[in-house]
């Protein structure tokens, strides 16, 4: 199988000269060649959404359905790139605070889908949340607390400090 050299920028780090094959997906390279394991491998058929990452525009993409060769030179964000070094992103804090995490296996994909929504709609409506999150499957939470976390992400600092009694 033919090999190719590509470059990818992941969470601000540029990986030059990644050797990839024709049939590899973005998911394969993130988890394999690059070695970031936060993005999970689920169905590998685009049905479950746990492999979701964000592209340079902040849109959600299914990395298991994305042919990596077509992404030569592109930049993406994975779950590891959401927080800066010192603190969690607002959506991550909201997921912890509102109990939107249970087993955690779908969580990276769920959060990256939510992040894509919040990038364009910081205070999304119920309908926008339902639509944006319909593609990620989560049995543990039944979506309830996930939606609550997304609804409240924009004011999470205030909520957390209030809960801490500050």
């Amino acid at each position: 199988m033919a090999k190719h050299l590509i470059s990818l920028t992941i969470n601000g780090d540029t990986y030059e000269d990644l050797v990839v094959s024709d049939n590899q997906t973005l998911l394969d390279v993130i988890r394999g060649e690059v070695g970031l394991k936060g993005t999970k491998r689920g169905c590998t058929t685009g049905a479950c959404g746990v492999c979701t990452v964000n592209d340079a525009n902040g849109d959600a993409i299914l990395s298991c359905m994305t042919h990596v060769l077509e992404w030569d030179g592109e930049a993406i964000t994975t779950i590891e790139g959401l927080a800066d070094t010192s603190d969690l992103d607002a959506i991550q804090k909201a997921f912890v605070h509102y109990g939107a995490v249970q087993c955690g296996s779908c969580t990276p994909g769920v959060i990256m889908s939510a992040k894509a929504l919040l990038n364009t709609h910081p205070q999304p409506t119920e309908e926008q949340i339902n639509e944006a999150m319909a593609g990620v499957l989560c049995r543990c939470t039944g979506h309830v607390k996930v939606k609550e976390a997304i609804r409240n992400a924009h004011r999470i600092e205030e909520v957390v400090s209030h809960a801490a009694g500050d």
Binding site: T45, S105, P108, H143
Partner: protein, 786 residues
């Protein structure tokens, strides 16, 4: 009768400072940052990738199996077949057979007979035939294609009703007539009850084939490169049973098998046993002396995931005209698939649980496990109790209707109370069932809605009970825990209970923090590794909170008692005059006299004589077998049915759950939400459609679960009956709600259709339309009769 025991803390105002607080998961930050490590994330030096060749026939003789081309493929390191697993059986259910004998006096007919690979004959699509380990997954996949299998197709039997007819093809020659087992469980005196009752009502109900659909698929990583140490990373509900199944199969002692299961991506009752892919990974690693990972993706997950098979119920209820329920009599035909192993036992549990909520004279459950050439079955979320309760609760609504009685009144009239002794001798040491019913009646607005809603708009109620802990399934039901106290005041809890998402690790931290009077965030966990953690049978049978919770509490008390020596000396008092709370150790008689907890730990561990504080605790039910504690639950569901399309819109589910005491309300709400979701999913959407044993919808796109926009509003009410056995009075919330939510939804749909019983779950649009036609027919017949 269990011994009279007092609750650990009084029901009201118990002075708890950690228990009852909304505590975010301690592993939450790791899980939202991608730092949590799941099995598929682990890569070991020299690791190989395994793939399994599976049968494409439901029933066939293997005439020829040639692996030579696969073996010759560069990059292939091993190919294994039945020849490598001679005499080895998947024996995970031995303990279940013994359990049944201990609890019922009868041995469930159980002969696992399940081999790791099919030998001469395959009996279902997906059965293991051979496996390959290669340098990478692509090579392993390619090697599978090079394995030549010549099948001689045999007549297959796909339907349990046809399987028992004369002349049906035989799935397993040792079970003539395809009957794996047949049992009748009688409790109390059902015969007299049915003879003497004013009337009898009956119904038929069917439940379809499911998959548990956890987010983390089946995966096993095995390192058996050293002959005396078998390490396996895998999601599981029970490392204990895995050790006990794998050790004898590979000639090891139990603790030579190390199970690593820090994160388990959901289980929903489906990960309680060792499965062929685990054994296959071990065989491949043994053969290559290198670590091997076997991962299933896409369609394969649906082939190997064992969940509920087709179950067909006939339910009879005997009642009197004043609304007294006398007895239940349920018959269930269970499709065991090609291996009947565990299914009969789960039927027994369903038969028992149907009756727990009611003061009955008799209860009978007849179960027949039938072999077919379908996938072997196991448990779905809530086991068979979801579907059996759907059958029972709908019928009770019909009983009420026939008596012109409100179903709420019928349930209240027959509901058990604290101190009640059930038909199989179970004693309810705590019981908040009536309070649950009254709560959902009030909070759902039932009295303004029942029989007052417009056509196709329905409301339904259901109740349930769930045993917490299950001594008798094994000789003992032990959980142990250790609590290490650090000199800096940080506490480490060692526990073997798996956290599959339910949040039990955070629960254990909260329990230890409560005892020591510190913040739960100052507790760290060592869990998910059998080399490091003490015995724990596992996270099933709702034993986590009550059994492991008591173990953690006992260990924390032991640690606290050790710290109390130093604190008492410093505060110039006796050890029993101390209170540990809010990060302080203070004198009970003079709370102003206190020391910071961290000063006590520092002082204790930096003493001249040298000290070490490790609290030890364990818990094993005081009963010889059976359960000490049951949760109770009542729920009301409100639905709208579209008569044009047959679609069901669930508007609201109101849940009142008697969990004894709420340890962590945030986690409890999450458990309830997830179980309403799961039950709704099972009764409305989830079904694996099969054609000659082949799944037609083995994908998350086609195997439907509720999406975001389909979820109802959920109202939670926690009823605290303060169980005398539970840690701080807590019982369970792991499976109690799921067995009720489905029944409430189905009762609401039935109510929306004017009381027509729904004969089948899931209630797909087509089935709903059929039921609507049936209800219209019923109406027109009763009108013409009038």
């Amino acid at each position: 009768m269990p011994p009279e025991i007092k609750p650990q803390v009084p029901k009201d105002n118990p002075g708890l400072t950690v228990v009852g607080q909304r505590q975010p998961r301690l592993d939450g930050a790791d899980k939202v940052s991608g730092r949590s490590v799941f099995t598929d994330d682990v890569v070991l030096p020299g690791m190989l990738y395994g793939k399994i060749l599976r049968s494409t026939h439901a029933h066939a003789r293997i005439k020829r199996l040639d692996t030579s081309k696969a073996e010759a493929l560069p990059g292939v390191k091993a190919v294994v077949t039945a020849a490598h697993a001679t005499g080895m059986s998947a024996n995970s259910t031995d303990s279940v057979a013994k359990a049944s004998k201990r609890r019922t006096g009868k041995t469930i007919k159980l002969k696992t007979g399940e081999t790791i690979f099919a030998d001469d004959v395959v009996t279902y699509i997906g059965e293991e035939i051979a496996a390959v380990a290669a340098l990478d997954e692509a090579t392993a996949t390619k090697a599978l294609e090079l394995i030549e299998v010549e099948y001689e197709p045999l007549p297959a039997i796909m339907d349990s009703r046809r399987a028992v007819r004369a002349g049906a093809p035989q799935v397993n020659e040792e079970f003539p007539g395809n009957v794996w087992s047949q049992d009748i469980d009688n409790y109390g005196d059902p015969d007299t009850a049915f003879d003497e009752a004013d009337f009898i009502m009956e119904s038929k109900f069917e439940a379809g084939v499911t998959h548990n659909l956890y987010a983390e698929f089946h995966v096993a990583l095995v390192d058996f490169s050293r002959p005396d140490k078998l390490k396996i990373w895998t999601p599981t509900q029970t490392s204990y049973l895995m050790q006990h199944s794998l050790a004898p199969a590979f000639g090891l002692s139990v603790n030579q098998v190390q199970i690593i299961h820090l994160n388990t991506g959901g289980a929903f009752s489906g990960r309680g046993a060792v499965r062929p892919h685990h054994y296959v990974a071990v065989l491949l690693s043994r053969e290559t002396r290198r670590p091997v990972k076997v991962f299933s993706a896409g369609d394969e997950e649906f082939l190997i995931g064992r969940a509920l098979g087709k179950n067909r119920y006939k339910t009879r209820v005997a009642a009197d005209k004043d609304g007294t329920l006398r007895a239940f009599d349920m018959t269930c035909e269970m499709d065991g698939g090609a291996v009947g192993n565990e299914v009969g036992y789960f039927g027994w549990m369903a038969g028992l649980s149907n009756a727990w909520m009611f003061d009955l004279q008799g209860n009978r459950f007849q179960r027949k496990v039938i072999l077919t050439n379908q996938r072997p079955n196991f448990l779905g979320h809530g086991g068979m109790m979801v579907s059996s309760n759907c059958a029972v609760q709908q019928l009770l609504a019909k009983v009420a209707r026939s008596l012109d009685m409100d179903p709420m009144d019928l349930l209240l009239k027959n509901a058990v109370e604290q101190g009640h002794t059930g038909l199989s001798g179970e004693v309810f040491a705590s019981c908040g069932l009536k309070e649950c019913i009254e709560t959902v009646r009030r909070e759902s607005g039932w009295d303004d809605k029942y029989d007052k809603l417009p056509p196709y708009h329905g409301i339904g109620v259901a109740v349930g009970a769930m045993a917490a802990g299950a001594k008798g399934a094994f000789k003992h039901d032990t959980s142990a825990a250790m609590v290490r106290v650090g000199e800096d005041g940080l506490i480490t809890v060692y526990t073997g209970i798996p956290d599959m998402g339910q949040g039990t690790h955070t629960t254990m931290a909260m329990i230890a923090a409560e005892v020591l009077g510190i913040d739960a965030n100052d507790v760290q966990l060592v869990a998910g590794d059998t080399d490091l953690t003490p015995i724990d049978i596992g996270a099933f049978a709702q034993r986590g909170t009550i059994t492991t919770g008591n173990a953690a509490r006992n260990a924390a008390i032991d640690a606290r008692d050790q710290l109390a020596v130093y604190a008492a000396e410093k505060l110039e008092t006796s050890v029993d005059n101390l209170r540990f709370a809010h990060g302080q150790v203070s004198r009970v008689d003079d709370p102003q006299q206190s020391l910071p907890f961290k000063e006590v730990t520092w002082g204790t561990l930096n003493s001249m004589e040298g000290r070490f504080v490790m609290g030890r605790g364990f818990y094993n039910s005081p009963l010889p077998y059976g359960t000490t504690s049951w949760s109770f639950d009542a729920q009301v569901a409100e639905v709208i049915v579209d008569p044009e399309t047959g679609q069901i819109d669930v508007l609201k589910v109101t849940v009142a759950h008697d969990l004894g005491r709420t340890i962590n309300p945030l986690a409890v709400e999450g458990q309830i939400d997830g179980q309403v979701f799961s039950a709704m999913s099972q009764v409305i959407y989830e079904e694996l459609v099969t054609d000659d044993g082949l799944f037609l919808n083995p994908s998350r796109l086609e195997y439907k679960m509720p999406r975001t926009y389909e979820m109802p509003e959920i109202a939670h009410f926690m009823i605290e009956s303060n169980d005398p056995y539970g840690p701080f009075g807590a019982k369970e919330v792991g499976e109690g709600p799921v067995v009720v939510a489905g029944a409430a939804i189905i009762a609401a749909v039935s109510n929306a259709l004017g009381g027509t019983l729904m004969p089948e779950m899931p209630m797909t649009p087509m089935r709903v339309l059929k039921a609507i036609r049936a209800s219209e027919l019923e109406k027109s017949q009763s009108q013409s009769a009038a």
